[in-house]
């Protein structure tokens, strides 16, 4: 009976955490105004999301032991993120184009690349995450790293311009009328070995 109680307690805690993480994910989507629900409930959704974040210890300082234990368990069990894949809508596709400027004035165009299709899916997943607000503080660093990964193959390059673009896919009707995908630049950075400037 003792073992059963321990198992049952773990079951309760485990699914409480899953419920909390999933609800936080859904409330976050509602609060961002990404759903068909009326905008009047966005404030309540944000409050609910904050309450759940507090329950999960996310508001605590990074040195807080309770926060660390909960976060470690969530990551170890793979339940740190909700299950809102491709929801409420399919996210936009993004692309990073790199322009390599050589000393003699010629320019080459490249994109970060990997060998396998499985890794390419992961690279795309990273690019699609970058426009999210939470990645704003590290966006430039990631783009620099991605530019550097290609730059290593072109050591003579003087300057690199990295342009991050949203790929606008045509709707069915637009596709039928011959419209292809269009690229909208979101931001770009110029990098050089000696210094850098953001555009």
């Amino acid at each position: 009976m003792h073992a059963k109680r321990i198992y049952a307690a773990w079951f309760g805690i485990h699914f409480f955490l899953i419920t909390a993480v999933c609800l936080a994910g859904v409330f976050s989507l509602v609060a961002e105004g990404a759903t068909i629900l009326p905008s009047s409930i966005e404030t309540y959704a944000r409050k609910a999301e904050i309450t759940i974040a507090w329950l999960l210890g996310k508001q605590a300082s990074s040195s807080n032991r309770v926060k660390q234990v909960i976060a470690t368990y969530l990551h170890a069990a793979g339940i740190q993120a909700g299950y809102t894949f491709f929801a409420p809508n399919v996210p936009s596709h993004h692309r990073l184009s790199l322009e390599f400027f050589y000393e003699d004035g010629h320019v080459e165009y490249e994109s970060p690349h990997v060998r396998s299709k499985a890794a390419a899916l992961r690279l795309d997943s990273l690019l699609d995450k970058l426009p999210e607000e939470r990645y704003e503080p590290i966006r430039e660093v990631i783009l620099k790293m991605l530019a550097l990964s290609v730059w290593r193959e072109h050591p003579d390059v003087k300057r690199v311009r990295a342009t991050f673009e949203t790929v606008q896919l045509p709707s069915i009707t637009e596709f039928e009328h011959g419209k292809a995908e269009t690229h909208e630049p979101m931001f770009s950075f110029d990098f050089s070995l000696r210094g850098q400037e953001q555009q």
């Binding site: 049952a8 859904v26 629900l37 069990a77 809102t84 409420p88």
Partner: protein, 320 residues
């Protein structure tokens, strides 16, 4: 007189609570054989083997440190350390390797070989539990160190390996059982871990379905269209998809309905096969039509394990 009445009322409440607790215990501790565990072990063995093989050529590039790899392992590790420094990462293994005069490249190679070996061992059921622990740990390190490059399949793999590692291994179809003649496992413990997986899947689909219902693109089929023509997922030609334009809204709504009603109809004997068949077909289609093979395989494995293996009550033995 009034104290007697209140005593009786408390007693009634206590009895209700006791009955509720017994029903709950009966639900989470059904008696089961270990057939589902065999399916789970073999399925995850396949999954880990394919995962390691698919990433073979990019393994070092994805997990090397800054200046050598794609984005550098340190960034992903810093993000996960911000949540908690206790989350496993490749940085730990590399630090240990450094003390043993092993280069980062060697440690990453050893990690990849260990992961592939763990996958193969799980497939055959040799050293099942150590293999499950090694697979969970290395995959978790990869998912955290390369957190920026992770996607849905990684979360499901971590969860599945976490449950497998805790389940009562080895099963009777494994080499371990054949070699060491291990005793049969407690049927209620077997039932408990299968129930955990079943309940977890209900959460996955219900939340996924609700979230999809909240997006207008699932009602008019535009989300399906966008999913299928996205670069990298565009296995099927858009010219062919256009012919099915009137089917897409129906399919979109059906996917939402299928997912949101999964926690109800998957438990009913009459509808279980239909719901399971539809969910498996949906994941197979995601794999074949979008090229998301690892994601499709892990979802098929967990669904087959949870609801595909017929429930066979084992000889009753209580979990003490």
């Amino acid at each position: 007189m009034s104290s007697l009445t209140s005593y009786a009322a408390v007693n009634v409440q206590l009895n209700r609570l006791r009955r509720g607790w017994q029903r709950f215990v009966g639900f989470i501790f059904p008696s089961e054989t270990d057939t589902w565990l065999t399916v789970f072990r073999i399925g995850l063995g396949l999954q880990i083997t394919f995962y390691a093989l698919f990433l073979r050529s990019d393994w070092h590039y994805l997990f090397a440190s800054s200046g050598k790899g794609l984005v550098g392992r340190e960034l992903g590790e810093a993000i996960s350390s911000f949540d908690s420094p206790l989350i496993p990462k490749f940085g730990w293994l590399i630090a240990v390797g450094r003390n043993l005069n092993m280069s980062e490249e060697t440690v990453l190679t050893v990690a990849w070989v260990s992961l592939l070996s763990a996958g193969c061992l799980l497939l055959f059921g040799l050293l099942s539990r150590p293999a499950a622990i090694v697979a969970w740990f290395i995959h978790l390190c990869a998912a955290e160190s390369g957190g920026l490059l992770a996607y849905g399949a990684d979360n499901f793999m971590t969860t599945a390996l976490f449950y497998l590692m805790l389940s009562p291994l080895p099963d009777r179809y494994s080499f371990d059982h054949w070699v060491a003649k291990t005793k049969p496992k407690n049927p209620q413990a077997l039932g408990f871990w299968r129930r955990v997986l079943q309940v977890h899947l209900c959460f996955v689909y219900f939340i996924g379905g609700v979230a999809k219902f909240l997006g207008n693109g699932w009602w008019d089929g535009s989300n399906l269209w966008r999913s299928l023509i996205r670069p990298r997922f565009n296995v099927v030609s858009p010219d062919l998809l256009v012919h099915f334009r009137y089917v897409l809204p129906l399919l979109g709504i059906s996917i939402c309905l299928l997912e949101v009603s999964y926690p109800v109809f998957i438990w009913l004997k009459r509808t279980r096969r239909i719901w399971l068949g539809c969910i498996l077909a949906m994941h197979a289609a995601i794999g074949l039509m979008m090229g998301l093979y690892l994601f499709a395989l892990i979802m098929i494995v967990v669904n087959l394990t949870a609801f595909g293996v017929p429930v066979r009550p084992a000889e009753h033995r209580r979990l003490e």
